[in-house]
Amino acid sequence: MALVLFSACHQEENTIFTTASITLVSNEAANIGRVQAQAQITNVNTRQTTTTAAFNGATLQVELLRGAYEILIEGVATYTDANGTEHIRQFRAQTDYVELAAMDTNVTTLNMIFLD
C-alpha cells in the first residue's frame, strides 16, 4: 500500500520556459542581411503577448512560456537575391499556430511575404 502511495506522488513539471528560435526565410532572398521588424508572439492558451524586435540577422531568439503560439512579424528587411542584387523591402511573416512546447530550444521558420 505504501508503494501504491509512493508511486502515486505527483511529478511536478517545473520547466515552464523554453527558448524559441524563429528564423525568417524567403524564396526570393538568397541572403537576408538586416531585419528591422517587430514580432508579436501570442500564447493561444493564455492570450499573453510578447513583443520584441531583437533580431540577429534573420533570426529572433526569445524566451517564452512553453506552449502554442500565434506569431506576427512586420517590418523591413535587406536581402540579396539570386542575381546578387540588394533589396530593401517591407514584409510580413505570420503563423496562426506553432508549437513551442519542447523543453530545450524550439526552432521554427516563417516565410516572409513582401508587401510592395
Partner: protein
C-alpha cells in the same frame, strides 16, 4: 420491573455518553479504520433526526462559498453491536436548501477542487440537494480485527436564474481495515480509496445576453483560451489514503496515528471531446502523537497538505479534438496545521484545550502571484453531560477560540489584471489576513421513555464568529429526533 426500567434508562444514558462524549475526538483518527471503529463502542446507539443548519455572514468571508446557507435535513445514524465480536453501522441522510450569494464559483465542492473551478463575477444563490449513505461491518477473526466501510454521496447544486450553474456530484469512498493486538497495543492499518465525479455547466436563458464564465487557474488567473463561452465540463478524480494507528488496548499509554493520502482531480471540457484542461494534485500527511489515560490526554498533531496544479497545454483543434502538447505545473499551495493539545475529564465535565499554528503559502508561478499568511490559534472546548433524572439527560457543549494573524503577504501583477479580478483577489486577502474570535454553545436534551428502548431528543446550537475586518458570522443548528 423497577430494576429493569432503571437498567434500560441507564443503558440509554451510557450509550448516549459513549457515542457523543468529547473524548471521542481523541480516537476519531484511529477510528477511520473500520476494523477499529467496529471495536470502538460497547453499546448500540441509533438516532433519527430532523434538523436545520443555518449560517449568515454579514459579508461573505469566502466569496466562492457564499455568505451563508439554510439547509434542512433528515437523517438516520445507527451503530449496532450484534455480538461482542461483531458490529455494523450505517447512515442515510437527505439535505436540501440554499447557499446564499455565491460569487466567483459556478462549481460544486469548491473546497475540494479550488482553484480549478468555473467562475463568473455575478453569481447568486444556489439550491443544494444531497443524498448521503454509508454502511460498515467489522468483526473479529481469531486475534485479528477486520472491517470494511462504504460511504456514498450524491449531490446536485443549481441556480434557477442566470447564470444557471449546475453541478452534479457522485462521491464514493471505500475503506478496508485490519487490526491486531500486539502485547498491550492495538495496531491498526486501513486503506481508503475514493472515486469522484462531477458534471458541471452554466447556461443562460435571458435575452439580455451572457457574461463570461472563466476557467479559473488560481490566484485570479484563468485559462483564457477556453474561458468565455466554454461552459460545460466535468471533473474526474479520486485518490487513495493509508491510515496507520497504534493505541493502548487499556486506553492507558502512548498512542500514534499516521495518515498518508494522495488525491487528484482532472477538469475536462465536455464540448471538446473531453479535452483535459487542468489536473489538481493534493498530497496530505498527518501525524498525531499522544499519551492518554482514563482521565487525561496530551497530544501533538501536524497536518501538511501540498496542493499543486498542472495546466495542460492545448494544441491545435482538429475536428473539435484538441491534443495536449505539454504540461506546466503553475499552481502551488502548501498548508500546514500543527497544534499541541490537552484533554481532561472529571465526572460530568470534559475539557479540551488546543494551541496551534497554521500557515498557507499559495503561488502561481508565471506571471508570478503569491498570497501567504500564517496564524496562531487557541481553542477551548468544554462538555458537560448530566442525567438530571432517570428519564432526562442534558448535554452542553461550549467552545471559545481565537485565531490571530502572524504574517501575511500578497504579490499580484495588479497593472495587468482586470478590475473585477483585483476586487476578488483583494477580498480573499482581506479575510485571509484577518483575526477571528469564535464563541459557540449547543445544548442537547434527551428523554428516555420508562418502558421502552426509545428516547427523544432536541438540540439547539449557536456559534458566533467575529472577524477583525468588522464583519461577523452567525451559525444556528437545531434538530429534533428519536434515539433507539
Amino acid at each position: 420491573m423497577g430494576t429493569s426500567l432503571q437498567t434500560m434508562a441507564t443503558e440509554a444514558d451510557s450509550a448516549l455518553i459513549e457515542h457523543t462524549i468529547l473524548a471521542r475526538e481523541i480516537t476519531a483518527d484511529a477510528e477511520r479504520n473500520p476494523a477499529l471503529h467496529g471495536a470502538a463502542y460497547r453499546s448500540s446507539f441509533s438516532q433519527l433526526a430532523l434538523g436545520i443548519d443555518m449560517q449568515h455572514q454579514s459579508e461573505a468571508f469566502v466569496q466562492q462559498l457564499g455568505s451563508g446557507y439554510t439547509l434542512p435535513y433528515a437523517g438516520v445514524d445507527t451503530y449496532l453491536r450484534l455480538s461482542p465480536r461483531t458490529a455494523v453501522w450505517g447512515s442515510a441522510s437527505y439535505t436540501t436548501g440554499t447557499q446564499k450569494e455565491v460569487r466567483w464559483n459556478s462549481t460544486s465542492d469548491y473546497e475540494l477542487l479550488q482553484p480549478y473551478v468555473l467562475a463568473d463575477s455575478l453569481g447568486g444563490d444556489t439550491h443544494r440537494e444531497r443524498y448521503a449513505f454509508s454502511g460498515g461491518y467489522a468483526t473479529t477473526v481469531g486475534s485479528w480485527l477486520a472491517g470494511a466501510e462504504m460511504l456514498f454521496r450524491a449531490e446536485q447544486e443549481y441556480r434557477d436564474y442566470d447564470p444557471r450553474m449546475r453541478g452534479v456530484v457522485t462521491d464514493l469512498t471505500i475503506r478496508l481495515g485490519a487490526g491486531r493486538q500486539l502485547n498491550s497495543y492495538l495496531l491498526g492499518a486501513a486503506f481508503e480509496c475514493n472515486i469522484y465525479r462531477q458534471t458541471n455547466s452554466v447556461t443562460f436563458y435571458s435575452e439580455e445576453g451572457v457574461i463570461p464564465e472563466y476557467q479559473m487557474t488560481g490566484l485570479g488567473t484563468e485559462y483564457s483560451r477556453f474561458s468565455g463561452d466554454k461552459r460545460s465540463l466535468y471533473y474526474d478524480g479520486g485518490g487513495v489514503a493509508l491510515l496507520l494507528s497504534a493505541t493502548p488496548a487499556d486506553h492507558n499509554g502512548m498512542y500514534a496515528d499516521l495518515m498518508l493520502g494522495e488525491h487528484r482531480y482532472q477538469r475536462k471540457l465536455a464540448e471538446y471531446n473531453s479535452m483535459p484542461l487542468t489536473t489538481l494534485y493534493s498530497e496530505q500527511a498527518a501525524l498525531t502523537l499522544g499519551w492518554r489515560n482514563s482521565q487525561w490526554a496530551l497530544f501533538a498533531h501536524a497536518d501538511y497538505t501540498k496542493r499543486s496544479g498542472d495546466e495542460q497545454i492545448g494544441g491545435t483543434s482538429d475536428a473539435r479534438y484538441f491534443p495536449t502538447i505539454g504540461t506546466l505545473t503553475m499552481y502551488k499551495h502548501q498548508l500546514l496545521d500543527a497544534y499541541l493539545g490537552a484533554f481532561y475529564t472529571q465526572g460530568s465535565l470534559s475539557m479540551m484545550l488546543r494551541g496551534g499554528y497554521q500557515s498557507s503559502n499559495e503561488k502561481y508561478v508565471y506571471p508570478e502571484r503569491q498570497l501567504n499568511y500564517s496564524r496562531a490559534y487557541g481553542e477551548l472546548k468544554a462538555q458537560w453531560i448530566k442525567a438530571t433524572s432517570r428519564q432526562l439527560s442534558l448535554t452542553v457543549n461550549t467552545r471559545a477560540a481565537y485565531e490571530g494573524q502572524l504574517t501575511h503577504k500578497i504579490y499580484m501583477p495588479y497593472a495587468n489584471m482586470k478590475s473585477s479580478f483585483i476586487e476578488m483577489v483583494n477580498h480573499t486577502y482581506r479575510y485571509a489576513k484577518a483575526n477571528y474570535t469564535h464563541f459557540g454553545a449547543n445544548v442537547r436534551s434527551d428523554y428516555h421513555w420508562s418502558n421502552s428502548p426509545y428516547g427523544a431528543f432536541a438540540k439547539l446550537g449557536v456559534d458566533l464568529t467575529l472577524c477583525s475586518v468588522g464583519e461577523h458570522q452567525t451559525t444556528l443548528q437545531g434538530a429534533i429526533g428519536i434515539t433507539f
